[in-house]
């Protein structure tokens, strides 16, 4: 609810209660006033009209000495009756005169006889006459009455009127009071709404807009608010704060760039010798070795591989946290991809005496659009973990799309659950399971290895894909990690394996004797790369800088160039540009970059310089093969021999 609505939701009931109470008080005041006025009119009519009419004649008789003349007295009393009849017509009040001692009615303008209940009557004195007045019920009708006595003639004089006009008047007052109260509430609410809008909501909205801009742009803002009150002060504070934020963000960005640069350099500097270690170990294992030597070489390769994994994890995390990770969506057969992963990881599971089960729902013949690399990384991470912590158990992977797909591409939700029967996670540690460098137990690191970054990276990757990873676990029974992600899906009626680029690549075959020019300044890396390429039946020629590479390409006879990026004399980028400037078909020779730089944006810049593909160090025979197969599939390379 917006603040204005909230304020009005508070104000209006308060106003309604306040105005209603005021209105009720006004009604009661008006009620008393109207009643008092009616009684006043009635008693005044009795005293100043009726009794005056009587008294005037009585005095006239006294002054004329006719008081004791019956004919005059009777005639004048008759005159009184006649005048009261006229007064009744003029005032619509009724008048009655009765014998005071006997209560016998002498005269009445009312058609029916009536008897008043004067027990609770009020008493007052008007014009030196004692008057009783009040309300009574006469013949089932409420009436107001006033009565007094005229002693000289032994009369009791009564004036009465129906209470209905008074009640009608009071009803009108009540109705008007309600209407005025309601009207006042509406008007005051509107005014308060307007005032609140002008003095509170509008300034807050301006500050909020400024805060949003700060959150998005991290820039200093200027808030158009000239008030000198608390909100104005807040606006000034926000302006100052935004300036500081801009400054801090600039510093942070600078620090981040420095960190990224450092990581890039470190990545390159570590990967380059690591490439040599891994490559040489691989080459060493292919030579005749004693069992002891073979074990040493194998351990060397494993250690290099673990080191590479650690470096990759650190780089991944660094990229994610610096916001440099981008989502690269492609359409692929997720079901097949997961099945292949299960097959790939099955070897590890078997080694741990663990059974790996995969099942899917709504995913047969369905093309999914998402970032395949990140999904694969997440699943590998979770399944690898599950296998690692499950000994002689079962790891089951179930994947499903929440909604069945149609032929038209549409949004969907991918849910993949990785459930194991492993050691489980203690409840107090489960909430920290996705923290960086955290495992459920420090002893785990010692027993099972790992950097503790895998789950953190997986969770952040899942969040990048619009989903998340949740975990439920019970110590001794196992854990279940559930990955969700926003994807798009469509049903492929004639789905064939050919449409999957990965499979295509797998099925393509490399021609033998491809003339490869290897440009690499690091002698060890050159030896490794050459050996690996030769394993792929390539005919490798080595040069140690870019200038030589460009010159060699110009001479002709080269099918593909593996070009190290950082080389003396001329680096790989410049050499690639020169090659692209050669005449004829020579300018189209595919160039595959070799780099220890792991950041994607750097790879993009290499491709923009003219490179066809990038292989990241430490190079493996699989990476080299995949890259060559990709070029072969694109018909960029052919065997010149």
């Amino acid at each position: 609810m917006r603040i204005k609505s909230k304020l009005l939701a508070i104000y209006i009931p308060i106003l309604l209660i306040g105005m209603t109470l005021t209105g009720y008080w006004a009604y009661l005041t008006a009620y008393d006033s109207v009643r008092e006025r009616e009684y006043q009119l009635l008693t005044q009519t009795l005293t100043l009209n009726v009794l005056e009419i009587i008294d005037e004649r009585h005095k006239l008789l006294i002054e004329s000495g006719l008081e004791n003349v019956p004919v005059f007295r009777k005639a004048y009393q008759e005159e009184v009756f006649e005048e009261l009849k006229s007064l009744q017509q003029a005032t619509e009040r009724h008048f009655a005169i009765s014998e005071r001692s006997t209560n016998t009615v002498i005269f009445s303008t009312a058609e029916n006889a009536f008897e008043l209940n004067v027990t609770n009557a009020n008493k007052t004195i008007i014009a030196n006459r004692r008057v009783a007045f009040g309300e009574s019920n006469v013949n089932d009708t409420d009436v107001l009455f006033a009565c007094s006595e005229f002693t000289p003639w032994n009369w009791k004089v009564t004036a009465l009127q129906p209470a209905e006009p008074l009640q009608s008047s009071l009803f009108t007052i009540a109705w008007l009071t309600s209407l005025v109260t309601l009207f006042a509430v509406i008007i005051v609410s509107l005014l308060m709404g307007k005032v609140t809008q002008v003095f509170v909501v509008s300034p807050i909205e301006k500050i909020k807009t400024a805060a949003s801009r700060i959150a998005i742009e991290h820039k200093k803002v200027s808030i158009d608010l000239q008030q000198t009150d608390e909100l104005g002060s807040l606006a000034r504070d926000v302006e100052v704060m935004s300036g500081e934020i801009e400054q801090f963000v600039a510093q942070a960005q600078q620090a981040n760039r420095a960190k990224t640069d450092f990581l890039a350099v470190m990545s390159h500097e570590i990967r380059t010798p690591l490439n040599g270690i891994q490559g040489l170990a691989t080459l060493l294992l292919d030579t005749p070795l004693s069992d002891k030597q073979h074990r040493y070489a194998s351990d060397l390769k494993s250690s290099a591989s673990i080191l590479a994994t650690v470096i990759n994890d650190v780089l991944d995390l660094s990229k994610i946290e610096s916001g440099m990770t981008e989502v690269d969506v492609t359409e692929f057969d997720l079901d097949a991809m997961l099945a292949d992963l299960i097959t790939l990881l099955g070897t590890n599971a078997s080694a741990n005496s663990t059974r790996l089960i995969y099942k899917s729902k709504n995913m047969k013949s369905v093309a999914v659009t998402s970032d395949i690399t990140k999904l694969r990384q997440i699943i590998i991470n979770l399944v690898s973990n599950a296998i690692k912590f499950t000994h002689k158990g079962t790891v089951s992977i179930s994947a499903k799309l929440k909604q069945p797909s149609t032929e038209a591409i549409g949004d969907n939700r991918l849910v993949i659950a990785v459930k194991d029967t492993g050691i489980g996670i203690e409840p107090e540690r489960i909430e920290h399971i996705f923290d960086k460098f955290t495992q459920s137990d420090s002893s785990i690191t010692r027993k099972y290895g790992g950097t503790g970054l895998g789950l953190s990276i997986a969770k952040q990757l899942a969040q990048l894909l619009g989903g998340d990873i949740k975990v439920v676990s019970k110590v001794g029974e196992g854990s279940c990690f559930t990955v969700t992600a926003d994807v798009q899906s469509r049903c492929m009626v004639e789905w064939s394996a050919n449409s999957d680029p990965a499979r295509q690549a797998e099925r393509a075959s490399l021609p033998e004797g491809i003339k490869v020019l290897l440009a690499e300044d690091n002698a060890i890396n050159a030896i490794v790369a050459q050996a690996l390429l030769e394993q792929l039946k390539c005919d490798v020629e080595h040069v140690d800088n870019g200038l030589k590479a460009a010159a060699r390409v110009e001479e002709g006879g080269i099918d593909v160039v593996f070009m190290d990026v950082h080389m003396p004399v001329m680096d790989g980028i410049e050499a690639t540009k020169r090659i692209r400037k050669l005449e004829g078909e020579l300018s189209n020779i595919p160039v595959i970059g070799l780099t220890a730089e792991a950041f994607k944006e750097r790879h993009i810049s290499f491709k923009q310089a003219g490179m066809d593909d990038i292989v990241t160090k430490p190079v493996t025979v699989e990476a080299l093969q995949e890259s060559l197969l990709k070029l072969a599939r694109d018909q960029k390379i052919s065997n010149n021999s």
């Binding site: 006239l60 004329s64 000495g65 003349v69 004919v71 005059f72 005639a75 004048y76 008759e78 005159e79």
Partner: protein, 340 residues
């Protein structure tokens, strides 16, 4: 020296004469012509003169009165004699016969004329209607209340007693013009009042004091004859209303009491109710009109009206005797004229 003294005395005499002339009041000559030797006429004239002197202090009012002794013929003779003399500033006629003679006189057509104590100026041909002006250079006021109002008043008194049958009332009058005119008006309106049945009781008008006595006797005789038919009588304006002892004589002779009278004196003597213009009011009102005329406003431009001030009088003894309670509003109006 003699010449000096002569010149001195001449200058002194001129100065005294001039001062005297400057201090002398302008003289206004008025002639009053009256016919009926009754109190209303005499009192009205006296009050007229007194009021005129009071409201015109800067003038020397010289009033010469002529009494026509109740005779129109005598009035005409007086006027013929006056025509031979210098014309006065104003001629005032009192009562109907003198006014009739003055209005008819051609000799005084250019002399402004004022009448008073005339009950029916329209019927006398002075003006065509009340509120109109006279073409014969005469103006004045009728001192008599409208006949309908009088009947309304009497009807109000009678109605208060809730009579089972109408009161038969003898309408006593003479053939004196104002008296007979009023009676005719009353009779014409009688049918509108269910409580009143008017019966004309008339006597011929006889001039002079002896005539008044004779007229009184005639009326007493007539009422005596009709005593059984009548519940009372109405003493109309005119000479009979001023006759001394009439009420008492009628009462003694016939036992009838007057129910309505047009003189305060008659109410004092026993009339149930009466309404009349008092002579003082008549005289004062006429004096105010005379002042206008003497200050050079033409009598031709002053309309003839009725008086606007009347006096109500009641006699409660008669009311009690007749068991006719006088309504409180009349009793209140009577103020100082409640008699017993």
């Amino acid at each position: 020296m003699t010449k000096v003294w002569f010149s001195f005395f001449f200058a002194l005499s001129s100065m005294v004469w001039g001062t005297t002339a400057a201090l002398a009041k302008e003289r206004l000559d008025l002639i009053v012509l009256e016919t009926l030797p009754v109190p209303i006429v005499a009192e009205s004239r006296t009050e007229f003169e007194k009021e005129l002197v009071r409201i015109m202090p800067d003038y020397e009012i010289n009033v010469t009165s002529y009494n026509a002794e109740g005779s129109e013929v005598r009035a005409k003779e007086i006027l013929a004699e006056l025509a031979l003399k210098p014309a006065p500033d104003l001629i005032v006629s009192i009562a109907t016969l003198a006014t009739r003679a003055l209005n008819a006189s051609e000799e005084f057509i250019d002399t402004p004329k004022l009448f008073m104590a005339v009950s029916a100026p329209v019927e006398e041909g002075i003006v065509s209607a009340i509120g109109a002006v006279s073409e014969r250079n005469m103006t004045g006021e009728s001192h008599v209340l409208d006949a309908k109002v009088k009947l309304d008043m009497l009807d109000g008194v009678l109605r208060a007693s809730n009579p089972m049958s109408p009161f038969t009332i003898g309408l006593v009058h003479s053939t004196y013009p104002s008296s007979s005119n009023l009676v005719n008006q009353l009779l014409a309106l009688n049918n509108d009042y269910k409580n009143i049945n008017l019966v004309a009781v008339s006597t011929p008008y006889i001039e002079g004091d002896d005539g008044l006595v004779e007229m009184t006797d005639n009326i007493i005789g007539s009422l005596q004859q009709k005593a059984n038919e009548l519940d009372g009588y109405w003493l109309s304006s005119g000479p009979l209303a001023e006759a001394k002892g009439l009420v008492e004589k009628v009462k003694n002779a016939s036992g009838l009491l007057p129910l309505f009278a047009e003189s305060i004196a008659t109410v004092k003597e026993g009339a149930l109710i009466g309404v009349v213009s008092e002579p003082a009011s008549i005289g004062k009102s006429a004096a105010r009109k005379a002042k206008l005329i003497l200050e050079k406003k033409s009598a031709r431009g002053i309309p003839v009206n009725k008086m606007d001030k009347y006096t109500v009088a009641v006699n409660v003894s008669t009311a009690i005797k007749l068991q006719l309670p006088i309504p409180s509003n009349y009793l209140r109006l009577s103020k100082k004229h409640v008699y017993q």
